[in-house]
């Protein structure tokens, strides 16, 4: 009797569990980005955009699978990034990941993805080494690298007639990369770097560095770092009465940068890979859908890339099924895949070729494409 009861209980449990798993046909995709901390605006914009891709797919009538986005916060800190990456990679139910805005974090986590065989598509980090310093088949990137960005930046600024630069960069891999690629391009094209200062990413006081900069009296201050540090630097520049042009990188292209500075943001220059959203093939449609879904935050500069990365992964899984290895192979074979950011083709290192670099200037509290700005028309001076 007792044995029978035990068998009954066990069979109930088994039925219960299989019942659970059978209604669980949804496939998990991880999103990792900075959801808190100084650059969280970009992380949240990316997360929402990835979520939008999932929702749009789930709403389709013909589909093989349902998807669920598992969002995790890397806080833009490499140690936290490795923790959450390990958590995701070790979770067998997660088939692929849309990962990282911060280069310093991505540099730390690519090893984890490789070790666990989790295919990922980077949606925002721009350091070339993330794809090029390894042979990891699992790692792909839809956005461009900082090399092209800095070549265009050097050309553009020299064309404007500037001659001398002081470079201030944060000492993470990201800031150091910008320093290296920008300084190299600039010097090769005839510009002069008269001072280079490395600062820590969470530093608050830049008075000493900026007073030194003031002594050097450059035409332009080049800042290689992310928005929160950029906000501090720009506002302390003003307090010391420095009139140099403030030139940033893709790391400050975010609405949060303008919000943090107010009128002081006027005339700040920055560069970003990819065409502006409104010029992209599916840009307007993306924005319309995004606004329809009432996310609390704007998609920010890299939202479209996160959206494209998520769609790319979903398309791969739809095609080959929820298997990490098969998805990795399918992603590696991506050639001229239509997306909101233009056709995506991965090279041997999983890097998408994004040839176009957009030049931005802040005009009346908005990032305006240089060619459309009053600065380009000569109505305003930097």
């Amino acid at each position: 009797m007792k044995l029978n009861r035990a068998i009954l209980i066990i069979s109930f449990l088994v039925v219960g569990f299989t019942g659970c798993s059978s209604d669980n046909d949804t496939i998990k995709i991880a999103f990792i980005g900075p959801l808190t901390g100084g650059v969280s605006a970009n992380g949240l914009g990316g997360r929402n955009s990835a979520e939008l891709a999932v929702r749009l797919h789930n709403a389709k009538s013909t589909k093989n699978y349902e998807y669920e986005l598992l969002s995790l916060d890397d806080e833009c800190k490499p140690n936290i990034g490795v923790q959450v990456a390990t958590k995701v990679a070790a979770d067998g139910r997660v088939i692929a990941g849309v990962t990282h805005y911060c280069s310093a974090v991505a540099m730390g986590t690519v090893d984890v993805y490789h070790k666990f065989g989790l295919p990922v598509v980077i949606w925002g980090a721009v350091l070339p080494d993330i794809t090029y310093s390894n042979d990891y088949k699992e790692v792909h990137r839809v956005n461009g690298t900082m090399i092209n960005q800095n070549e265009v930046a050097a050309d553009f600024m020299l064309d404007q007639g500037y001659k001398t630069w002081v470079v201030i960069h944060d000492t993470t891999d990201y800031g150091k990369g910008h320093n290296r690629y920008f300084s190299e391009s600039l010097v090769a094209k005839g510009g002069t770097v008269i001072g280079t200062f490395g600062v820590s990413a969470d530093q608050q006081d830049f008075n000493a560095e900026l007073t030194k900069t003031k002594e050097l009296n450059p035409d332009v201050i080049f800042f290689g770092g992310l928005a929160p540090t950029g906000v501090r630097l720009r506002s302390q520049m003003e307090k010391l009465g420095i009139n140099a042009v403030f030139q940033g990188t893709s790391g400050i292209v975010s609405d949060a940068f303008i919000e943090g500075l107010g009128p002081l943001a006027e005339g700040v220059i920055a560069f970003r890979e990819g065409a502006p959203l409104e010029n992209l093939p599916g840009g307007e449609n993306f924005l319309a859908q995004y606004n329809q879904h009432n996310f609390g935050e704007p998609p920010e500069a890299y939202g479209a890339f996160a959206f494209a990365a998520t769609q790319l992964i979903i398309d791969a899984i739809e095609e080959v099924g929820p298997d990490r290895q098969a998805v990795t192979l399918a992603l590696n074979a991506t050639r001229d895949h239509d997306s909101v950011v233009g056709p995506i083709s991965f090279d041997d290192h999983g890097q998408n070729a994004v040839a176009l670099i957009t030049r931005y200037v802040i005009q009346d509290d908005k990032w305006v494409v240089w060619e459309n700005s009053e600065y380009a028309e000569g109505k305003r001076d930097l």
């Binding site: 901390g37 969470d202 000493a208 007073t211 030194k212 003031k214 002594e215 929160p228 501090r232 010391l240």
Partner: protein, 307 residues
């Protein structure tokens, strides 16, 4: 290398503002140690909490539609300072006094943990608390350019305000009855008690005073950098503590000297090295050397014999 004197003046001005902020934090450490021989490691986070209280008060003022900046600055400073004074008194009453007879390590640990709890609470419960918050620019932004020196009215006001606060604390301790009681307890708690001094009241007052100064340091920091964040107390706490130790824990003047010394070392470090990121390394290395040379601090406190 010859240097334009106006640039030297600029470095000096930057250094003095930093020094005032550090000194205000260091004075708190030295007060607590002087009176109760405790090291309160949550002090840096009280600095941060003071700044956030002021920020929240400003948001409240904006909400009810008050935008006069002079009125706003007075209100946010008063509320921030009072709230932290209360927090300091509560902290000493609930956490520090009950542990008075326990090993000093326990007090150190419990305040360390309280600081952590305070920091994480702000991060979790303040709206959008993990992001840096812009602090309202309430001081006039007038500036004068003399040669290469950019002399800003707000920096000058902050220096005057900070130095004024430190002098006021000094006068309070040297010239008033409660100050006399604080000094008596610092010198010999048992005898002071026998003389009829209300020991607990003196301790609560001291912690309220030190924490009020911390709140002011936090608000000064916010006004100067136009930004506050939940982690700002961490480094400020360590710097304030180092300044107090190098000046001589328990000595008020020592704390002030220590604060300005640390700011000076940071500034010198930044000017000297081509990589300014080394300035903190340089400043802390100098502090280590100073402590090896004078273990009880530059101005040794009378009670150093208790070691």
């Amino acid at each position: 290398m010859t240097m334009d004197p106006w640039f030297i003046a600029q470095y000096l001005l930057n250094g003095i503002v930093l020094g005032v902020i550090y000194a205000m934090v260091a004075v708190g450490f030295t007060l607590f140690f002087g009176v109760l021989d405790v090291i309160k490691f949550s002090h840096g986070d009280v600095v941060m909490a003071g700044a956030f209280t002021a920020l929240a008060t400003y948001a409240g003022l904006e909400w009810i539609g008050i935008s006069d900046s002079v009125f706003a600055i007075v209100v946010i400073a008063v509320i921030g300072i009072l709230a932290m004074a209360l927090l300091g008194a509560l902290l000493s009453k609930l956490l520090i006094l009950p542990l008075r007879n326990a090993p000093p390590l326990n007090t150190l640990l419990i305040t360390l943990m309280f600081g952590l709890a305070l920091r994480e609470s702000v991060r979790l419960f303040y709206p959008n608390g993990s992001n840096p918050k812009p602090f309202p620019q309430l001081l006039p932004d007038a500036a004068m350019t003399i040669g290469n020196l950019e002399l800003r009215l707000d920096s000058v006001l902050l220096i005057v305000l900070g130095l004024g606060a430190i002098v006021a604390v000094q006068l309070l301790i040297q010239r008033t009855r409660i100050g006399l009681a604080i000094r008596a307890v610092a010198q010999d708690p048992e005898t002071a008690r026998l003389m009829g001094i209300n020991f607990e009241r003196v301790v609560l007052t001291t912690f309220a005073l030190g924490s009020a100064l911390a709140a002011l340091a936090g608000i000064t920091n916010g006004l100067y950098y136009s930004e506050v964040n939940f982690g700002m107390g961490l480094l400020l706490g360590v710097i304030g503590f180092s300044a107090a130790v190098v000046g001589g824990l328990g000595s008020l003047y020592g704390a002030i000297i220590g604060g300005f010394l640390f700011a000076a070392l940071q500034t010198i470090g930044a000017v000297w090295f081509s990589v300014p990121a080394y300035k903190d390394v340089f400043a802390f290395a100098c502090i280590i050397a100073l402590m090896a040379w004078k273990p009880t601090g530059l101005l040794a406190h009378k009670s150093a014999e208790r070691v």
